[in-house]
Symmetry: C2
Subunit: 144 residues, 2 copies
């Protein structure tokens, strides 16, 4: 089941970016994905349609700079990308086996605020990132 369509073109124009086919495709891919995607996964999806690695990297960093998408560090060398512009702040569960990433819809900002009160070095917090690591249902079923 697809999500509601986005006007990716307008989104890009709002940010002063040109609406090129690659960027439109990328935004649609991220929007339609049920889970945040890693660069590797995006490569796989976009390569089929003639995507170029350099362009993917450049598009993603343009998105991050312009607050269209956000990159979350997941594990050593792996970051997940997802659209940010319409989202409710949330966190992730990552499967240690297949690497699939699911978003979880609550936020723990209040915990951060109380953490700073006890901190020796910090007084304010701007943001936070939380990931849980487990095994997804599909991988749980696999025979080892």
């Amino acid at each position: 089941m697809k999500k509601a369509p986005i006007d990716a073109q307008e989104l890009l124009h709002t940010k002063g970016l040109k609406a090129t086919p690659i960027r439109l495709r990328l935004i649609e891919t991220l929007h339609e994905s049920k889970t945040p995607l890693t660069i590797e996964e995006l490569q796989k999806i976009l390569k089929k349609k003639g995507g170029n690695t350099t362009t993917l990297y450049r598009a993603l960093s343009a998105f991050v700079e312009n607050h269209i998408a956000q990159a979350t560090p997941i594990t050593k060398g792996v970051y997940s990308y997802e659209l940010i512009w319409h989202k409710h702040h949330h966190h992730h569960i990552v499967c240690g086996d297949c690497g699939i990433i699911e978003s979880i819809p609550f936020c723990i900002k209040n915990i951060g605020v109380s953490a700073t009160k006890k901190s020796r070095l910090f007084k304010t917090i701007q943001s936070h990132s939380l990931s849980f690591f487990g095994t997804c249902k599909k991988c749980t079923k696999k025979v080892r």
Copy 2:
């Protein structure tokens, strides 16, 4: 103020690793540090004493494999290392300006458990990682 000394030698032997000077120094450095350290910081500290980059990497991955230390992804391309074997589970606050990392001593495992109940893809969680990003007191004082 230093923490209580560790028997780093015994720790290594327990794990079947040889107690070489570099590894002993590394464990002591990590143990005495008030904050988790990045590879870059460890390099700086160990270089003074003739540390080799390759060896540092190899020692750290031996530590991680043998559950002596853990690596936490902080931001794109940056991981913090800290001893795990004696620690109470905890989380981090990272300064976006100077990168210093402080540990915060509470845990949110219970939140993870309730998160899985609502998850579409996951049933169990093995671990989690949480970082807050802010500005440390020292950097707050700096004039921009």
